[in-house]
Subunit: 414 residues, 2 copies
């Protein structure tokens, strides 16, 4: 039983009511639709308390009555379930090659998905953020016309984000330093919903946690783009570190005296395992797959096509980079012994051609036999992991406090 | 309020009584001596429940009445505090250069401390374990004569310990593979107390957690001996990994194609940051500091003496090794962003000569400015960290279930 009701003597103090509304909403998210009687049993509340809470959540358009179900206790009852129609959370991402947004409804369904390829390094940060604000504004306006309220925006950015000062302190791949991303976006977008900025690797990692899946409670998420980042999940929780700077895997020095990194040092892992390393090995400078203004999905699809046709240069490039991915991952597996490594970003897109070499390097580099039992998985979220994690994070505010969404309809009598 | 009473209606069911006895004992350990009235207020129990529990703990010789204190609630009362006289936990360590034991009483005071220098690599594992069993037996017998009951033995061993099979699967520095350390020691020592075996780095890391010290809740403990290991503490908890193999920092490959490691690979961190690297840089083969049968403390004291006199070779060796310590630590700090790095083992003994170079390499290797705020500290436990952690772990059984210790005396009326 992960949650406990704060009070079972009816809804009295507003804080208690808010907490109990959230409890019901999260229980339905994590355990699926069920009757009021089941909810009462699960949450150890009285039937009348549950009915009052459910009615209020229906008035706020966060729950809806579903089909009749037979529960373990009492007569068949109407199942209540999350209502996806009233609110959405938006996740966004600022990356070297693109800006993108994704809107998720309360049930986690995608209700908006925008992406704009650009070459962020050649542009001023305010221009890039302006493009992102345009994508967000279009999504918010369209959903607003459909009666869907945006409850929050969480933006993932490639680099070190100081959440206390709300500033991107170091974004070496973007070439951004000390950019107040949150403040700029709030100025662009106004104050109708909260805007939070976080490291994109953190958001991508959070998106990979699957409630109830043991292999996804202790995992290492490796997020490959031009830079390489990700997150460490331990016991189902993202490990952020004492100042929020955990997960900067791309800057582990794996080859002392090696290639020059955008961060100014040499031999960082991302210089050999990032997308640029793959592209440079796989193609000449004038090859379209190296054109940063082309959509990355298309460029990666072309790499997959060439690999599928057995193109020797492409296959060798994938193997070389995969070996470095596994070599660096082995360092982390020696330290962390995760149940699972989840590969996201470009690794997920072309990972089926990299996996064998990654696993081989992992077994070679980890002290414990058979890589300590760590399994390698490709994310099914791919490049959308960070925006999906952002949208999920934005929706958390509603699960924490459902009264943030106004009452709109009178509920049917219960 | 970290603990909650399972029942406040007097001591009824044996499980509830056991749990509540443990609650009182742990509260006094973590928050210090206090009156029965304060305990009742802190733990939200009735005064009579607390008095009954305290009386029983006094009968089991786990608590004792202390001085009169003024509490926040009610009249001055007698403070109760942990009684150190009845029980002890023993920690032990099997290392390349020595076997050692430490006994701690319930208050955490050292009541026994034995060490035997030996060259484990040149001996059969059963011989080494026989020497360790002798040390344990001597300690147990002496304490038994003083009326102190040994409640458990936790043994730290250098290598991968599979706790499910109770076997040291890989101990490359000891040259031990698939040794059932637990079973051998149980045969040597009989069954009068439980014997648990764990990785020595894990135990050393657990010993560094200081309740209430924020810097010691998110930390990286680096334990340097011939091998290099340690542990990751996140939110006050040791991160063990999915199969218990976390913390094998010494086998992170930091120098591809580098020096041969005992594990069979090349360029592992411990080949450049372990004790052997320091000794080989600092002295010729016939130098007494390289004699493995000499007590390690004495050899390290000699290194400190030479460094203090400004001996160029010694200082250069310390700086070279320290730079590698910092370079490897930077890899982990990029991934984990801990509040603190605690250096234990030989790092603690000679660390005041290494610290500047370690911090410099750390700042150079970490993406976040100023090493992400991570502070470097030298353990005050030194080589005793692992045995101390083992003894503390052995005592946990009493804090979890105080009824494991028999009643001996009638308590004074309360």
């Amino acid at each position: 039983m992960p949650y406990q009701a704060l009070s079972d003597r009816g809804v009295t103090h507003p804080d208690v009511r808010r907490a109990n509304l959230g409890l019901v909403l999260r229980h339905l998210r994590d355990h699926g639709p069920r009757s009021r009687a089941s909810l009462a049993a699960d949450l150890r509340m009285t039937r009348s308390t549950v009915s009052t809470l459910v009615s209020e959540l229906i008035e706020r358009c966060l729950l809806t009555d579903g089909p009749l179900v037979q529960s373990a206790v009492g007569r068949p009852g109407t199942a209540v379930e999350l209502d996806g129609h009233a609110v959405c959370g938006i996740g966004a991402e600022i990356n070297v090659n693109h800006v993108s947004t994704m809107a998720l409804d309360l049930r986690g369904r995608v209700v908006g998905d925008r992406k704009l390829a650009l070459d962020a390094r050649s542009m001023d940060s305010t221009i890039v953020l302006g493009h992102l604000a345009d994508l967000v504004r279009e999504t918010v306006d369209r959903l607003d016309e459909e009666g869907v309220q945006t409850v929050g925006l969480t933006v993932g950015v490639a680099g070190l984000y100081d959440r206390t000062r709300d500033v991107l302190t170091h974004g070496p791949n973007l070439g951004w330093y000390d950019v107040p991303v949150g403040a700029i976006l709030r100025q662009e977008l106004g104050g109708s919903f909260p805007i939070v900025v976080d490291n994109e690797g953190n958001l991508a990692a959070a998106a990979e946690v699957i409630p109830g899946d043991a292999g996804r409670q202790d995992m290492l998420v490796l997020h490959g783009e031009i830079g390489v980042g990700g997150g460490i999940v331990s016991g189902g929780r993202l490990l952020r570190g004492s100042h929020g700077f955990a997960g900067e895997f791309g800057h582990m020095i794996v080859e002392p005296g090696g290639r020059q990194c955008a961060c100014g040092r040499q031999g960082c892992w991302e210089t050999v395992s990032g997308l640029r390393a793959l592209l440079e090995l796989a193609a000449d400078p004038d090859d379209p797959i190296r054109n940063p203004t082309m959509a990355l999905d298309d460029r990666l699809a072309e790499i997959n096509r060439r690999a599928g046709l057995g193109d020797a240069r492409t296959l060798q490039a994938l193997e070389d980079v995969a070996t470095w991915v596994g070599t660096g991952a082995a360092i982390l597996v020696n330290a962390l012994n995760p149940a699972t490594i989840v590969l996201t970003g470009y690794y997920a897109a072309v990972g089926h051609h990299m996996r064998t070499a990654i696993e081989q390097a992992l077994r070679a580099g980890v002290l414990a036999p058979d890589a300590g039992g760590t399994q390698v998985e490709l994310s099914v979220l791919g490049f959308s992991a960070a925006v999906r994690g952002g949208a999920t994070a934005a929706l958390e505010s509603v699960f924490a406090d459902p009264t943030r969404v106004p009452r709109r309809s009178a509920s049917a009598p219960v």
